[in-house]
């Protein structure tokens, strides 16, 4: 695929109470933003386990966005405070083992920030587009140290389907 037509696949883990509602507002306000982000709604940014993010990369995501309520706005009072410490570590860890910081982005978006939601999605998509496809991680799906038979079908196909990116939210 040439780089011009390549569209990144981004998994966005968003909290139910702020960012997801913010996305709703962006939609009802008819704001335009790229359709590369697949929103995955979770109850709180504090409930996002780092294995979700690794799984997203394993399943072919080129980038991941994690978004929740602003500090002090958490529906569960302290969920995002706990998350913040955890993400600080995880971000540094990912960076240390060689996953560029831009591949994994974080934001706070409240329910009233439809405009910010559109802006963040646009920025994340542009950032990851500039970085190109995350082939290093995808390559791991089929590489084995020991001689390994050829895979009969392409891994990951149905999870993020090609061409389904064209619809707008």
């Amino acid at each position: 695929m040439d780089k011009q037509n390549w569209e990144p696949k981004i998994a966005a883990f968003v909290c139910n109470w702020c960012t997801y509602t913010g996305a709703d507002l962006a939609g009802t306000s008819r704001l335009k933003y790229p359709a590369n982000c697949k929103l995955i709604r979770v109850m709180c940014s504090g409930s996002i386990d780092p294995v979700f993010i690794l799984k997203a990369f394993e399943r072919g995501a080129d980038g991941v966005l994690v978004s929740g309520c602003h500090p002090n706005d958490c529906h569960y009072n302290a969920g995002n405070f706990h998350a913040r410490r955890r993400w600080d570590f995880f971000h540094e860890l990912m960076d240390f083992i060689g996953i560029e910081k831009g591949r994994l982005q974080f934001s706070w978006i409240s329910a009233s920030e439809g405009k910010k939601f559109a802006d963040v999605i646009t920025k994340v998509t542009e950032d990851i587009k500039a970085m190109g496809p995350f082939t290093a991680y995808k390559k791991m799906n089929s590489e084995f140290t020991i001689d390994f038979p050829e895979e009969p079908f392409e891994i990951l196909k149905p999870v993020f389907q090609e061409n389904s990116d064209k619809e707008t939210v």
Partner: protein, 342 residues
């Protein structure tokens, strides 16, 4: 027995040819048996200790797919795996390692013939190398092997001096392998290699395996197992580095909702959930029972079933144990009433 002499340079030429033909050549290092790309880097050292990890993974990989599946609405399509049949030559296998496939093959051909194992084992050429070094953990002599044992090797090398090796052809497979290279071989003198093998220092015999066999049969419920059970951390690295441990686990890995593969992965009997039933019941619920299983499997159950001890005496499990549990010590102390097993 046929004994020849080969110089180191000629041996390396054979290795070069093996690689050029697209086959895999493995030699032992400090960490594991690794694939050789450049023959000039081969260092055949008879006085090295066994590598940390054995070459078991090349015949029984730590993970491999056994089938692929594809689900449709009312049907499941199964796709077989094409087993790779590349020839693998192991140069300089330790005598303790060389015997490992012979021991394991009983299990893989017992009630079901495992094509994955057999196919790979068939394409294995083991060139054993006499071993002149042992440490406090080696006990090959206690389990019926020795540093000069030719058991399991297709071809056996004995270093005569720095640049020449006595080469013994043990099996037909070995004969077939070496026949294209007969030009490199000179006829040898059996007495010369005999003088060397006879002078090799042997590790002391630590226990009599038949006595251990009997003790295990009578002392299944012995309170002695508790001591070692308290110490062991259930990490199972002993099973993973063992050249003959062969337990595996079957796992389904999905690519998507409809496609996936079934994997065969190494497993170890020291893990707490190795015997955990779906009901929640665990017959080996405490570590002492698990350790007892390990020793019994190696020195009693396998002997009952296949007439061989499931142990090559390489000492890897004891050398690597994070809490220094030494299987040789455990097994030799079991008959001793005074000593607790720990």
């Amino acid at each position: 027995m046929d004994e020849k002499i080969i110089s180191r340079d000629d041996l390396l030429k054979i290795c070069q040819d093996v690689i050029e033909k697209g086959n895999t050549l493995l030699t032992p290092g400090a960490a594991d048996y690794s694939v050789v790309k450049d023959v000039s880097k081969i260092d055949l050292d008879a006085s090295a200790l066994p590598s940390k990890i054995s070459y078991k993974s090349y015949v029984f990989p730590r993970t491999e797919p056994v089938l692929y599946y594809k689900r449709s609405k009312n049907d499941v399509q199964l796709i077989d795996v094409n087993i790779d049949s590349k020839k693998i030559v192991i140069l300089g296998a330790k005598p303790c390692d060389a015997n490992s496939l012979n021991i394991m093959k009983h299990l893989f051909n017992w009630d079901y013939s495992d094509d994955f194992f057999n196919m790979r084992a068939k394409n294995f050429i083991v060139i054993g190398l006499m071993c002149s070094q042992f440490d406090e953990y080696c006990f090959c002599t206690s389990v019926g092997s020795s540093p000069v044992s030719e058991k399991g090797s297709d071809i056996f090398l004995i270093p005569l001096d720095a640049n020449t090796y006595a080469l013994k052809i043990i099996t037909d497979k070995g004969k077939e392998f070496i026949s294209p290279y007969n030009g490199h071989l000179k006829s040898g003198d059996e007495n010369r290699s005999k003088r060397i093998t006879e002078n090799v220092k042997l590790p002391e015999t630590a226990f009599d395996s038949s006595e251990v066999y009997e003790w295990l049969g009578e002392n299944f419920e012995s309170p002695k197992w508790e001591g070692v059970g308290n110490l062991c951390l259930s990490c199972a690295q002993c099973a993973f580095v063992c050249p003959v441990c062969h337990c595996f686990d079957i796992m389904d890995e999905d690519y998507s909702y409809t496609e996936g593969r079934r994997m065969k992965n190494w497993d170890g009997c020291q893990f707490g959930n190795f015997t955990l039933h779906a009901s929640g019941h665990n017959p080996r619920d405490i570590q002492s029972k698990r350790y007892r299983q390990r020793v019994n499997h190696k020195f009693r159950y396998y002997v009952n079933k296949f007439g061989e001890i499931l142990c090559t005496g390489c000492g890897r499990c004891s050398r690597g144990c994070p809490v220094s549990i030494d299987i040789k010590e455990i097994v030799s102390n079991c008959k001793n009433d005074q000593k607790e097993l720990k």
